[in-house]
């Protein structure tokens, strides 16, 4: 139309291709960071082993001595990998919650899932009540999962009602946080000293109870949910243009929101029941991905998973490195280190989009 636009139009497709290439490179970079962080994570721990020995144990387990093999393969590897799957799950859950609720503050943490899980775990630890008596050995995670799922199903159920807006869902989530925290405080008030310390430790969030089984469960859930989101990539991106606009583009917004809430519930409830409260990843992970990659879900979706995994893995490294010989609860480190980092990030690089 104008000379200016005529001139630049032929360039636009080219610069879009460059942008795409750059985004793929960013995803590659995140993956490289993640691999590096996992490697460091595995080589760090209260027992100090030289790096060549660690590498030999990893790649040629049969040639390593038994004690080292147990430490690396049965303790450090599950912890390091659980950081990856949990980080990716919580970040993906947060990303999609933020997308469908059109709110940058939505996350498993702010919508009451973590609080519900803590309450469920506390029921097991303080009252010794198993919500599913058949699995008494896994009483704590199963109680936590059941409560987290109950909380998200409550939100899910409410959002199917007529006339319920996104704002209502968020306000209900916040109400859930306060209710579960109050219930938890009540339990703690009546708890024995031993149970109290167990509850407090659990709510700090920790990867130390990692097992291969937990890694497998979280990985499977991620492997099921991520492709389902990927198939809806365009529709999820369209939702960010507003409900009316997305509907005008042919997106079944209500159905998409329900499907997403359900997947997100699963994605968030399981990791939280294994590791306790590390909810902050659900906010930071997606925001980092958004700043680096934008919100085209073709890049945002893998980006949120990778950044969440990388951040939690790096945090796991920090939790071992800060006090030599001790592993600090990772939930504390996430908040202590994550929050200032996050604040700096949004203050300096903040665009007008969230």
């Amino acid at each position: 139309m104008t000379a200016l636009s005529l001139m630049s139009s032929s360039e636009n497709a080219k610069s879009y291709r460059t942008l795409t290439a750059r985004r793929i490179a960013v995803l590659g970079g995140l993956l490289a960071l993640l691999v590096l962080s996992v490697a460091v994570d595995v080589s760090l721990g209260p027992a100090r082993y030289p790096l060549p020995d660690v590498l030999r144990t990893l790649f040629m387990p049969s040639s390593a001595d038994l004690q080292m093999r147990v430490v690396i393969w049965d303790i450090r590897m599950p912890m390091a990998l659980l950081a990856v799957t949990v980080g990716a799950s919580l970040s993906l859950a947060g990303a999609q919650m933020q997308t469908i609720l059109a709110n940058p503050l939505a996350s498993p943490f702010t919508l009451g899932l973590s609080a519900a899980a803590s309450f469920g775990a506390a029921i097991a630890m303080v009252l010794g009540v198993a919500l599913f008596p058949a699995a008494i050995a896994l009483m704590v995670p199963i109680n936590a999962f059941a409560m987290a799922m109950a909380a998200s199903l409550l939100i899910f159920g409410l959002s199917t009602l007529r006339g319920v807006t996104v704002e209502t869902i968020i306000l209900l989530g916040i109400a859930l946080v306060f209710s579960f925290n109050a219930a938890l405080a009540l339990l703690q008030y009546f708890a024995s000293e031993q149970a109290l310390s167990a509850v407090v430790f659990w709510t700090m969030g920790s990867l130390t109870k990692a097992t291969w089984g937990k890694v497998a469960v979280t990985a499977i859930i991620l492997a099921v949910c991520a492709p389902l989101f990927a198939r809806r990539a365009w529709a999820l991106t369209a939702v960010r243009l507003g409900e009316t606009r997305a509907a005008a583009m042919g997106v079944p917004v209500k159905r998409l929101r329900l499907e997403t809430l359900f997947l997100v519930s699963l994605l968030a409830a399981v990791p939280v029941s294994f590791v306790g409260t590390i909810g902050f990843i659900g906010i930071v992970g997606p925001h980092v991905a958004r700043l680096l990659l934008g919100e085209d879900q073709r890049f945002f979706l893998p980006g949120a998973m990778l950044s969440g995994a990388a951040i939690l893995s790096a945090t796991s490294v920090l939790s071992k490195a800060i006090l030599p010989g001790a592993v600090l609860p990772i939930g504390i480190i996430t908040a202590l280190v994550g929050v200032p980092f996050f604040a700096a990030l949004i203050m300096t690089k903040g665009r007008k989009s969230w």
Binding site: M1, T2, L4, S5, L6, S8, S9, S10, N12, A13, S15, Y16, L19, A102, A233, W234, A235, T237, A238, R240, L241, G242, T244, R245, A247, A248, M249, G250, V251, R290, L291, G294, E295, D296, R298, R351, K352, S353, W354
Partner: protein, 254 residues
């Protein structure tokens, strides 16, 4: 040739009737059709009914096009997403079509729609950085990138400056002429309607009062009935019909 006919369209929110018995003769493609009416006359609801976003009575009949060829541009589009203008138009093109890869012809159609609406220079800008008028132009480009044959636009020019209004309406007219698309535009500026639109539909309190050639629909009598405004039609120095507004028909009690 594409036509669209409304057959006794009705709609209600709860017990409140928004649209009643709204019918038109076959609206022809290739030209712009204006939808005029006071606030809350039911314009957006009529669009949502035609777009299939809302249930109700009556039928929308299309010839020469299917429901898949229809695109609706609602009044409000959220522009808080971290997407560039270019990405947002690719999104509009690919949503529904599926597939993650983009062909050269798809990129070419994004380029051509950017050019048509004079926003090629904004391609790399982030949506939240755009001004109101730029957003509206982007929104129009998002709507037309799939080359729809039936287009509904809710106030497409409300945020544009005078020159851009003229420019965008011309671009929409040429799009209609080129594709033969049925294009219905909800517009408040009746001078724009007279200048750019061949036909018009006048909506008042959920009922269609008149539809047909714009100059026959927009009579002073009808304007007075819809808006309570006294007006007359004259010609500008270049021969365009234009509406002179004299004031409220009945002086409002002070």
């Amino acid at each position: 040739m594409v036509t669209l006919t409304l057959d006794q369209i009705g709609a209600r929110y709860g017990r409140r009737t928004i649209l009643e018995d709204a019918s038109t003769p076959a609206l022809k493609g290739g030209v712009l059709t204006a939808l005029v009416g006071a606030n809350a006359a039911g314009k957006s609801t009529l669009f949502r009914r035609i777009a299939g976003q809302m249930r109700g009575t009556g039928a929308v009949r299309l010839t020469g096009a299917t429901k898949d060829d229809l695109r609706y541009m609602p009044q409000d589009t959220a522009m808080t997403a971290a997407l560039t203008v270019y990405e947002s138009i690719i999104l509009a093109l690919k949503q529904g079509a599926g597939g993650w890869r983009l062909s050269a012809s798809e990129l070419a159609s994004v380029d051509s729609v950017l050019q048509r609406f004079g926003i090629a220079h904004l391609a790399e800008r982030q949506l939240p950085e755009l001004s109101g008028g730029q957003r509206q132009a982007v929104s129009i480009a998002q709507t037309l990138v799939t080359r729809p044959k039936v287009v509904l636009m809710d106030e497409p020019t409300s945020a544009l400056d005078l020159y851009r209004q003229y420019e965008v309406l011309e671009a929409l007219r040429s799009y209609a002429a080129e594709t033969g698309a049925v294009m219905i535009l909800a517009l408040h500026d009746l001078n724009q309607v007279m200048r750019a639109c061949e036909t018009a539909i006048a909506l008042s309190q959920g009922r269609i009062l008149a539809s047909g050639p714009a100059l026959e629909v927009l009579t002073p009598a009808l304007i007075s009935q819809i808006y309570g405004i006294e007006s007359r039609v004259e010609r500008c120095s270049r021969g365009c019909p234009m509406m002179i507004v004299d004031g409220p028909a009945v002086p409002r009690s002070a």
